[in-house]
């Protein structure tokens, strides 16, 4: 059983790469045990909602993004950008009660990632890292291990360069979910942001800066994907060991 975890007070968390925000799509993500329906409306606003319809609890990510509203797959209830129910097909002439609304979270886009604050009192606005608009987002790697185990493993050092003679670089720990290996030589630095999916699972997001030259971009992406996959496999073997 995967228990929900309480979010740390006043903090926001990465939940996805911005590439997930495809027009008229609803992405399904998870943070601290809470399932989230993530979507962008045609006006550009990013929405992170509890992934359940308040009517019968069906996942909203199964439904339709109309560009201005989400429409539930089950009974066709519609919800506007504020999460308020605007239309109930079985009662087409009635105005839905104002209490009928989806739970919504505060969102922000920063460093190529979508961030969410689970605390309704706090907007997702505080970031430890200054944004580099040219930074390249790595392939995010899903790991069946707790965030603390990944942070510990990364803090032991990380190979930022694929060059065979390159040794592991020291990794600075900003906080329990944010770590960075600085640029060295020709190898760009990398910042890691950990997304606690639930108590046992984590997504490693990464950002390379300064941006590599276009002809090196794919090789850099592959190098980091290999490094993070090796780290994942080692941690999952440890987790699976008796």
């Amino acid at each position: 059983m995967k228990l929900d975890q309480a979010p740390s007070a006043g903090r926001c968390y990465p939940v996805a790469r911005t590439e997930e925000l495809i027009p008229r799509r609803i992405a399904q993500v998870q943070l601290l045990g809470r399932e989230i329906a993530l979507w962008r409306s045609d006006d550009g606003a990013v929405h992170a909602w509890e992934n359940r319809c308040p009517h019968r609890g069906v996942r909203l990510s199964l439904g339709t993004n109309t560009g201005t509203e989400l429409r539930c797959r089950y009974h066709g209830w519609r919800f506007n950008g504020d999460g308020r129910c605007t239309f109930i097909p079985s009662h087409p002439t009635q105005k839905p009660a104002s209490t009928l609304r989806v739970g919504i979270y505060s969102t922000a886009v920063h460093s190529g990632l979508v961030w969410v604050s689970l605390d309704p009192e706090i907007a997702a606005t505080t970031f430890l890292v200054r944004e580099d608009p040219h930074a390249v987002t790595l392939r995010s790697v899903f790991v069946a291990a707790p965030a603390a185990a990944i942070a510990k493993s990364l803090s032991h050092g990380y190979r930022i360069s694929a060059a065979p003679e390159a040794a592991a670089t020291a990794v600075a720990v900003f906080d329990d979910l944010t770590l960075a290996a600085p640029a060295a030589g020709r190898a760009p630095g990398v910042t890691f942001f950990l997304q606690p999916v639930d108590v046992m699972r984590t997504v490693i997001h990464g950002l390379v800066s300064p941006a590599p030259d276009a002809h090196e971009r794919l090789a850099v992406l592959r190098h980091h994907n290999t490094q993070l996959s090796l780290l994942r496999d080692a941690l999952e073997r440890t987790a699976a060991a008796p």
């Binding site: 027009p23 399904q28 993500v29 560009g67 899903f142 592959r222 994907n225």
Partner: protein, 214 residues
């Protein structure tokens, strides 16, 4: 007219219906009672397919079994543009063939886990799920790096029978207890497949929202 020996809830039958719909090929369905009737193991059907498996097509007397082989035949025979199974590029043809083999691996893992959960088939469902997740990791990584190189499909810039072959048992995986939450590139790819002109759904696979105009 093509006759399709069919079962509504079979992912392998669905992939044939999907390509028939995309290519706008008219056909006639002969529905078998796969579950619980096991009509695919009946004497009359074993005379058509001694393996006792669906789907089978009968195209004016040409009888063909095996979902992947049927996709090859339909695309080669009826896609005048040759886009769905292009044969001019040997490397591309080989890559498509590789993913058709991968689709069969999906059937015997994710598909078998679904048969276990929904139709009470025997099997070590935990092992099947582990094997399916290992395949999904390979698929997700392939799709992510294909996208990073500007190729949104399994084999290049146009969808092929490789995408049609792999789509059903990926999309039905949650019925076998295999969530797709850890696989964002797979999720984006399945949404792209749903927007292929002519796409048709099945039970458990919903259509996508229309893409915005323009």
């Amino acid at each position: 007219m093509i006759k399709l020996y069919d079962y509504e809830l079979s992912g392998n039958c669905y992939k044939v219906r999907l390509l028939l719909a995309i290519l706008s090929i008219p056909y006639e369905r002969i529905e078998l009672d796969f579950y619980p009737g096991r009509e695919h193991k009946s004497a009359w059907f074993l005379a058509i397919n001694p393996l006792g498996q669906l789907p089978v097509i009968d195209d004016e007397g040409f009888i063909l079994r095996d979902a992947q082989s049927i996709l090859i035949y339909l695309a080669s025979q009826y896609d005048a543009a040759g886009a769905w199974c292009p044969r001019s590029d040997p490397a591309l043809l080989a890559r498509i063939s590789m993913w058709l083999g991968f689709a069969e691996n999906l059937t015997v893992t994710a598909g078998a886990a679904r048969l276990h959960d929904t139709m009470f088939y025997d099997g070590d469902v935990d092992a099947l799920r582990i094997q399916a997740n290992a395949l999904f990791r390979v698929l997700d990584e392939h799709l992510w790096f294909a996208e990073a190189q500007g190729e949104p499909w399994l084999c290049g810039g146009h969808p092929t029978i490789a995408d049609v072959a792999c789509f059903p048992y990926v999309m039905l995986s949650e019925e076998g207890g295999i969530p797709r939450l850890p696989y964002p590139a797979i999720q984006r790819w399945t949404d792209r497949v749903k927007r292929i002109p002519g796409f048709t759904p099945m039970s458990g696979i919903f259509p996508a929202a229309d893409a915005p105009a323009g």
